[in-house]
């Protein structure tokens, strides 16, 4: 218990909560790399052959399936910790300003991580109910995987769905644009030799990954990918 006391004390401190936010955030960023890379296989435009090959690997490989539990936990910790931080941060200013010129000192998206995160969460509920939940449910019930590629082709015929996905990607873009750099700052990784690289990688990642994701429903809706 003595060990736990300093440990839990650290993780429940303001900096500890930020540490959890940064570590889970970077973990989720690593997931985005894999997710974007495998889904980008649809751009081979080979009727989903390459995509389904890798989709099958991701859906059945025991190591990946174990990591998937970690991924769900990563999301839950990131969301829960974000809610806790928002609660204490709001309580720290019980009376707000009548006049506030916040744009003079910070970007709107850095101040809106909670809002952007909430939009991403709403998107995630819609997104997982399209593909991940039905697929895993079916695997659990019958042991068979669903044909995700054709499910994508069908789902993305609805322009409203495409719009929701693109909106989700925009929220992800701004969330990452601040979150990527912010995670390194929280970890204390601020160094004259690496700041430029982190800033460049953060911006590039925030643009490339959401753009790649957004192009998937658009390409299927417009018939570029069949």
């Amino acid at each position: 218990m003595i060990v736990m006391s300093w440990f839990t004390q650290t993780l429940t401190s303001s900096i500890g909560k930020k540490l959890i936010m940064a570590l889970t955030g970077l973990f989720l960023i690593s997931f985005l790399v894999i997710h974007a890379a495998i889904n980008a296989m649809i751009f081979y435009n080979d009727g989903g052959e390459t995509f389904s090959h890798w989709g099958h690997f991701m859906g059945t490989n025991p190591i990946i399936r174990t990591l998937e539990i970690g991924l769900v936990l990563g999301f839950l910790f990131h969301i829960y910790d974000g809610l806790m931080l928002t609660k204490t941060n709001r309580a720290a200013r019980p009376v707000s300003y009548a006049s506030r010129n916040a744009n003079a000192n910070s970007t709107w998206y850095s101040r809106s991580m909670g809002l952007l995160g909430t939009i991403i969460l709403i998107f995630l509920v819609i997104h997982t109910s399209h593909f991940w939940i039905p697929n895993r449910t079916n695997q659990f019930a019958t042991g068979e995987e669903l044909d995700l590629y054709n499910m994508m082709l069908t789902t993305f015929q609805n322009p409203w769905v495409v719009l929701i996905y693109v909106a989700g990607c925009f929220s992800l873009f701004w969330h990452l644009l601040h979150g990527f750099k912010s995670a390194f700052q929280t970890l204390g990784l601020y160094h004259v030799k690496y700041n430029g690289l982190i800033a460049f990688l953060g911006t590039a990642f925030s643009i490339v990954v959401p753009l790649l994701f957004a192009l998937m429903p658009i390409a299927m809706y417009l018939g570029w990918v069949k």
Binding site: S14, K18, R93, S96, S106
Partner: protein, 255 residues
Amino acid sequence: MSEGNMRLTLKVWRQSNSNTEGGFENYQLEGISPDMSFLEMFDVLNEQLVEAKQEPVAFDHDCREGICGMCSMHINGQPHGPLQGVTTCQLHMRSFKDGDTIVVEPWRAGSFPVIKDLVVARDAFDRIMAAGGFVSVNTGNAQDANNLPIPKEAADDAFAAAACIGCGACVAACKNASAMLFVSAKISQLALLPQGQAERKIRAEKMVAQMDSEGFGACTNTGACSAECPKGITFDNIARMNREYLGAKLSSTNV
């Protein structure tokens, strides 16, 4: 003080004490010189109020040359007003236009309760300092500073962090009313010097713990604190504090 010709409308927060609800009062001012500092403009307002047998506006001020950290005021939505790198006493009326309406509020933070009008209690900062923002010298006299060889770069970095005047603009600017820029500057100024090494870990642990128990928010890394800091305390201090704190928590003997 030269006679000027600016006409201004001031919308000032008035509150009798921390237990009462406050509200905005409007005041018309004439003959304000653009060369006056913002505080001198408030002196003119208070002279008017005293002549009219009204309660003058309470506001904090002391040195009026930008080094004491007493003057506060959230002016038109920004701590210390629209300029960067200045305190309110260094802000002059030439930064405003004739006919402007200026909104003046106290710092807003649960940890900085309003004492009266524009004056807030900033003793939460004092308690954070008392928790560990010092070097213990338990016996004898302080030795001559030059006895300890310190490289110029380290001295410069420590001095840049020590430039913090504890005004609280960082808390006022932060969307979370976080005190991390202040605390990180105070942790840094000692962590960077040999004199601060012996108590380095316990200092980071205790100061952060006190900061949290005072009810300040956490850091979202928006950088608003640093942008509004009159002394240009840089954002990397917060990264250093995070390293100091997490490192101390992992390796100190304080269980």
